[in-house]
Subunit: 129 residues, 3 copies
């Protein structure tokens, strides 16, 4: 069970995420590598929307492999190339996280490892079985 | 209780932080979202000094919401737009962390989510109750 | 004992790392600050190869200080200045992680804290004693 923190002493989050997220001593913790818009066949999908959705699906597959789901995500970090892509990222993130709003950090990087990648998404998740 | 590591086999940290920080199996862990220089009313503060101090105060408010404080911070990550702002960041960080020196990573990003944000600070904290 | 996840439902990792890595409730967790190519005397080593090897050796020294080693690394994050240096990073990472392949995120930053630093490597490790 993740505990989310949004104290009234500071401004509300700029979009749908939580300022803090916490898990107790009994949890196992999963770190998910930065995921990109590459499908199972190795093809890089075209455009920010397809890449972002695919990156989230990849995160979901790794969570599932560990017996977890989006509800177990404590923290999500998103790396984009341009601020223009922030709205798409937020829209898709809201579609994925329907029940919870994890802690989040987002910034623009100078470049990703492949010139055609537009977004990279990593996560930390915790679950008490 | 956080255990800090600064082995003599490598050079001392470049400023007041620790090379490693550790918490035991009994701890609960809090992830704090990237905080920026926005006050509770939603106003973006002017300049790197005011923004950095506000970002740290926001981190502190989230720690407090989880029954934690700066002493419980294991890792702090700082993202700036220019290397010119590193000294201000270090001065304010030293003012916040008076008793402990958490592990730390700092680098310059290409951009933050809002064009007027100059600094973003996230943290990971742990506390054994 | 770290549990690695590479579900067949998504593409294989782009190099030798795991899509996910997990540790159980009994583990203690170590966060390692971003390490750079600076030797114990404070000298910045020349070139990406020497800096990357030194950064990994620094990570190793901090792991050792906590009674851990490369096998205990759950996640490794690498920050480079140019995509040209990715092959060197991967070659050296493969040389360090001989038995395990941790979760990993890699991207290019706008700048590091010192103008002569070419690479920064941070890690999260877990060990159940």
């Amino acid at each position: 069970m993740i505990k989310f923190h949004n104290p009234s002493t500071i401004g509300a989050p700029a979009s749908r995420y939580s300022h803090g997220a916490e898990a107790g001593p009994g949890a196992r913790w999963l770190h998910v590598s930065g995921q990109v818009g590459v499908d199972p066949s190795g093809k890089i999908l075209p455009g920010i929307e397809a890449q972002t959705e695919r990156a989230f699906r990849n995160v979901e597959a790794i969570l599932k492999s560990a017996g977890m789901g989006f509800d177990d995500v404590v923290k999500i970090n998103t790396f984009l190339l341009t601020r223009d892509d922030v709205p798409v990222l937020r829209t898709l993130r809201d579609r994925m996280f329907t029940k919870t709003a994890p802690a989040s950090t987002l910034f623009m990087v100078a470049a990703l490892a492949h010139p055609d990648w537009l977004v990279e998404i990593e996560a930390v998740a915790a679950r008490q079985d």
